[in-house]
């Protein structure tokens, strides 16, 4: 074996015993863009420079809620080198993906500590900083809305005009005279009947704080808005250039086609760079500066305190269970503390009504999901799109139910998991193509070596040593949350040397999108991987449309689009080759860089000879440049019924299960994650190395949410931990001792080669699994994240069995 083959056989399952039936699909190819990244040559928006560029800085409100009495920018404007100074008075633009509730710069009042109040653009960063220091703002501090209960009392409204906010009707439902940005609901069956049948009814409340995405590259954008032509050029560290263009056009009230968005390499995103962030402000600064390009790089503090977070959430769940463990009723209310603006967070709230029950077959269920305004930094899309939060509620409740009934938690889940023929919360039918939560549970639980719950006696004996161990597991289930008509498209161009250039609309921010697309192209065209080039960077002027690179949907949608584009390429080549070889299309096949006659492969034409049109020996030309395209739009998906939440929202459900082994120091409360076994039903592993990497990364990000991360606010909602000093993420010292990924493959019939997306999923149920393991270790149920050493130690010390 070569060095690399030996390496792969030790680390990955692929090379040795995983014999993929495909030539390229399933093979452990290395990441396409790795070379650029290890040499430091990869250019991110952070690195980009544009001629004549100005530098922007932003002034932020120090108060959670305040009236802006006055802003004096005269000294800043007088500073030589300052080309633009803006406040909320300079713009009437409202921004919002789903609800237009946010001014570009705070106007009249500020609604969160950290909100942008003024901005400058100057010829250097130092000058911009100096200019900012010369702006005087006078505030009248007002009482802020702090926390869910205060918000629901509605004595103070975060948005007094909530009834007038322009929003997507029929999908989001702002409640007048309240702080509820949207009330969404779903229901199934008959709750009253369900609870009447139940032998045991349990009501619990779970909660978790806001956390930060922490992409290592902060938000960065450069915008140029020519005041004469009205055209805009943007370079942005963004997940969704086309959506960005659409939203910017809508915000600025200009034509989409007048906006160009370019996305180079992106240094991490995790949902925080979907949507629209710095761009409107930068456009206004640029226009004010006579069309000079303006760049803004957020500092880490701004990344924590100015841009959006994952929402804090409280889940109230009431379940009815029969003696034998069958769940017959579930009544859930999710309250999302979503901060000052609706942004993407309101969609997370809405999604909870179909994703928020977990992968369980419950005949009678109701979910109400309230996205609630408070005066703090607002929330947006975050890896998992609400599923980490809802599964913290559901999977912990399931574990507690099994404790109370004296049923093994594995058996309890086996009894209630969705199987073929069952209906999901939204009334979707589970088929063999949907994937199997049961397979995932069985695989993870087997790998972790589950032998049943610890007994009191075992626990007491271990306790004396100062360290106790515990095992727990939790299910994962998520489908992409996307509009039913979301689309992906691909363009391919054959090159004269036989290489194929592939243009995608999706952004590779590390998840391996370019590599997956290359593999599919190689597979379909039967070419070696090194002849496939995915064009680096996405530019809306030239790359084909893709809705958004979020939701773990790209492998499915972009993958299918790639297959179609490749087959279209083959089709075009056969058209020409048929004429060249004087054969019908049906007699032709393709492979190894040639279109050839099925019955005599030596009769053939090379792809490259047709790349730009084919020339006969006598000079006649035929055909033309080979440019193919393919798109994929999900079929038969529907919107949700606004009352019942019934419909077909899910492109594909990816199920999974995390099982964890932990050790708890009973004095310090410190949790050490010893082993994680994570099983996912991927349908078909496209590239094990990429999935493996997602598991390694998602598990650690999940551990962050489980035992470490959380925003802390003062009594008047000022962020107390706006930097890495006190807003920590896991380091290399915090990685688990062992992580075992397990790939289940029940094919998704309409996925590319049967594949489903696996990306967000690897993070989602880690906190639930750890919470369940913590019960096994300590005999104590914790209801609130994070499970920090302090929270665990003081919980143990309290002597209580339920810690909220």
């Amino acid at each position: 074996m070569t060095y690399k083959e030996e390496l792969y056989s030790c680390t990955y399952q692929s090379c040795e015993d995983y014999k993929s039936k495909y030539k390229h699909i399933g093979k452990p190819y290395e990441r396409k863009e790795a070379m650029e990244k290890v040499t430091g040559h990869a250019r991110y928006a952070f690195d980009m420079e544009v001629p004549g560029m100005l530098y922007a800085k932003v002034l932020h409100s120090p108060h959670a809620r305040a009236k802006i009495v006055s802003i004096d920018t005269s000294k800043a404007k007088a500073l030589p080198g300052v080309k633009a100074v803006l406040t909320g008075d300079d713009s009437d633009l409202l921004v919002g993906l789903y609800m237009e509730d946010k001014w570009v710069l705070a106007k009249g009042e500020t609604r969160y500590q950290g909100e942008a109040v003024a901005a400058v653009a100057a010829t250097s960063e130092a000058l911009a900083e100096q200019a900012l220091a010369l702006i005087d703002v006078e505030y009248e501090v007002l009482e802020p809305v702090v926390g869910l209960d205060k918000a629901l009392e509605a004595n103070i409204l975060v948005h007094e005009n909530i009834a007038e906010i322009n929003h997507v009707k029929g999908v989001f439902f702002p409640q007048p005279n309240s702080n509820i940005a949207s009330l969404n609901r779903s229901r199934k069956g008959d709750l009253d009947k369900g609870f009447a049948e139940a032998n045991h009814i349990l009501e619990s409340e779970f909660s978790l704080p806001a956390v930060a995405h922490v992409p290592i590259e902060t938000h960065v954008a450069i915008a140029q808005y020519d005041p004469f032509t009205g055209r805009i050029k943007i370079i942005s560290s963004a997940q969704s250039p086309f959506a960005l263009r659409q939203m910017l056009a809508s915000t600025l009230k200009i034509k989409e086609s007048d906006i160009e968005v370019q996305v180079p390499y992106v240094g991490g995103a995790f949902g925080g760079k979907a949507g629209i962030h710095l761009e409107p402000l930068l456009c206004l600064l640029s226009r004010e500066a006579n069309g000079a390009p303006v760049k803004l790089k957020l500092t880490r503090e701004q990344e924590f305190n100015y841009t959006a977070t994952r929402a804090a959430m409280r889940g109230k769940i009431r379940t009815g269970v029969k003696e034998d463990g069958t769940m017959v009723a579930a009544d859930i209310v999710y309250d999302w503390d979503s901060g000052a603006y609706a942004d993407y967070g309101v969609n997370v709230g809405k999604t909870a009504v179909y994703g928020g029950l977990g992968p369980y077959d419950v005949d009678n269920a109701s979910i109400v999901s309230n996205t609630i305004y408070t005066n703090k930094v607002y929330s947006t899309a975050y890896r998992g799109f609400g599923h980490l939060e809802t599964l913290w509620t559901v999977e912990r409740q399931i574990d507690i139910l099994s404790q109370k009934l004296g049923i093994d938690p594995y058996e309890f889940r086996m009894k209630n998991l969705l199987r073929v023929g069952d209906l999901t919360m939204t009334g979707e039918l589970m088929t063999a193509s949907t994937g199997s939560p049961v397979d995932c549970l069985q695989a993870a639980v087997k790998e972790i070596g589950w032998k049943g719950r610890k007994s009191e006696a075992e626990r007491a004996a271990e306790w004396k040593t100062g360290k106790v161990r515990g095992t727990g597991f939790a299910m994962v289930q998520k489908a992409p949350a996307m509009p039913p008509n979301a689309a992906s498209s691909i363009i391919m161009q054959m090159q004269g040397d036989g290489h194929v250039k592939v243009m995608v609309g999706g952004i590779d921010y590390g998840q391996g999108l370019m590599t997956a697309v290359s593999q599919i192209t190689a597979q379909e065209l039967d070419l070696p991987m090194d002849m496939i080039e995915v064009v680096r960077g996405v530019n809306t002027e030239t790359n084909p449309y893709d809705w958004n690179t979020v939701a773990s949907k790209y492998a499915f949608m972009g993958g299918n689009a790639t297959i179609k584009a490749a087959r279209n390429m083959v089709d075009q080549m056969k058209d020409i080759a048929g004429q060249i070889l004087r054969l019908t299309k049906e007699s032709l096949d393709h492979g190894d860089g040639y279109i050839f006659y099925k019955h005599d492969p030596t009769v053939r034409v090379a792809y490259k000879d047709m790349a730009y049109g084919y020339a006969y020996p006598n000079g006649n030309g035929i055909g033309g440049p080979l440019i193919s395209h393919g798109y994929f739009t999900a079929e038969r998906l529907t919107n949700l019924d606004p009352e019942t939440g019934q419909g077909t929202p899910a492109l594909a459900w990816t199920f999974g299960c995390h099982a964890v082994d932990i050790e708890v120091d009973v004095h310090s409360g410190e949790i050490t994650v010893l082993k994680v076994a994570s099983a996912f039903d991927c349908g078909q592993v496209l590239n094990e190395r990429m999935v493996y990497s997602q598991v390694m990364g998602g598990v650690v990000q999940g551990i962050g949410s489980a035992i470490l991360e959380g925003y802390k606010f003062s009594d008047d909602n000022v962020l107390l931990n706006p930097s890495f000093t006190d807003n920590k993420i896991p380091t290399m010292k915090d990685m688990p001792l062992e992580v075992v990924p397990i790939y289940i493959e029940n094919p998704q019939l309409d996925g590319p080669y049967g594949a489903r997306g696996v990306a967000e999923h690897t993070m989602i149920s880690i906190p639930s699994a750890i919470g369940n393991a913590l019960y096994d270790a300590t005999g104590i149920n914790f209801y609130r994240l994070p499970l920090t050493p302090e929270n665990v130690a003081l919980g143990i010390k309290s002597g209580e069995k339920d810690i909220y």
Partner: protein
């Protein structure tokens, strides 16, 4: 960074002290810079003059003299403390504390003297220095003076240093006995790098007497002499260690802040004290 400063790198101490003597609250000493640069970038200070002391050879001193003690100059970085066999053997608590301070690359720059001059109540090194009766040598253009470390800290991020003074070295007396041993345990929010939620340095000297230093539970790092006296009067046993772990809560007044609650600090002070003293007792046996 709004400060506009000029930068000097003197080759002798006298030159540095002369610049300092003109100090009107706008001159700062730069050694490792791991605290200073953050203060500059956050505009917490307005610096007009920066004196880089890294080229002053006498500040590099890092010397143990048998029978006397260990002299650590202002330029000695944390990684040097960790790599020193003398520190590891004779002042183990200092080794332990240096080993957990910040991260490896920061420890290539961060100095011991910088850590104490920053005056943070949660600083990692002071508890280990306090239990060894560390002395601080302070110099100015007018001369030198020496103060015990326990008098050096005066409040949150406040020390005795006047605007025209700088610390040139610290001195840890030779513990004397081979039986002398110490350790430092601290609690953090994660296994990775963090400031201390609470950290306890314990020492048992050749006469079997304990010394206890602690951070993050008062406005300055503390030496718990009253607790030590009571404990030493009882003699150090398994029972008296358990007693001390409870009693320590009466000797400290932690607050709740973003890092940890008062309750957890009280709790962990006891846990870490027990862990430290027990470890040292087992070492002897």
């Amino acid at each position: 960074m709004l400060s506009k400063f000029d930068y000097a790198k003197p080759l002798v101490l006298e030159e540095a002290l002369n610049v300092l003597s003109k100090n009107e609250g706008d001159t700062y000493i730069l050694a490792g810079g791991t605290d200073l640069l953050i203060a500059l970038r956050h505009n917490l200070i307005d610096a007009k003059h920066i004196i880089d002391i890294k080229s002053i050879p006498e500040l590099d001193v890092f010397e143990f003299v048998e029978g006397k003690g260990l002299l650590i100059g202002a330029n000695v970085v944390c990684n040097a403390l960790i790599e020193s066999e003398i520190v590891k053997e004779k002042y183990t608590a200092l080794h332990d504390a240096a080993a957990v301070l910040a991260t490896y690359p920061l420890r290539n720059r961060a100095t011991l003297v910088g850590n104490i001059c920053n005056g943070s109540p949660g600083a990692d090194l002071p508890p280990s220095l306090l239990i060894y009766d560390t002395e601080v040598k302070i110099a100015s253009a007018e001369g030198e003076r020496t103060v015990p470390l326990k008098e050096f800290f005066t409040g949150v991020k406040k020390t005795q240093l006047a605007a025209n003074e700088m610390v040139v070295s610290v001195f840890l007396p030779d513990p004397g006995s081979a039986e002398d041993r110490s350790c430092y345990y601290r609690q953090t929010r994660l296994k990775g790098h963090d400031l201390s939620s609470v950290g306890v340095a314990c020492r048992i000297n050749g006469d079997g007497k304990a010394a206890i230093g602690i951070n993050a539970v008062a406005i300055t790092p503390l030496r718990l002499t009253a607790l030590e006296d009571e404990l030493n009067a009882k003699g150090i046993t398994e029972e008296s260690i358990d007693w001390a772990a409870e009693e320590i809560q009466n000797h400290i007044k932690p607050i709740s802040d973003v890092r940890a609650s008062k309750e957890y600090r009280l709790h962990m002070a006891g846990v870490l004290l027990k862990r430290g003293l027990t470890h040292l007792m087992e070492k002897e046996a």
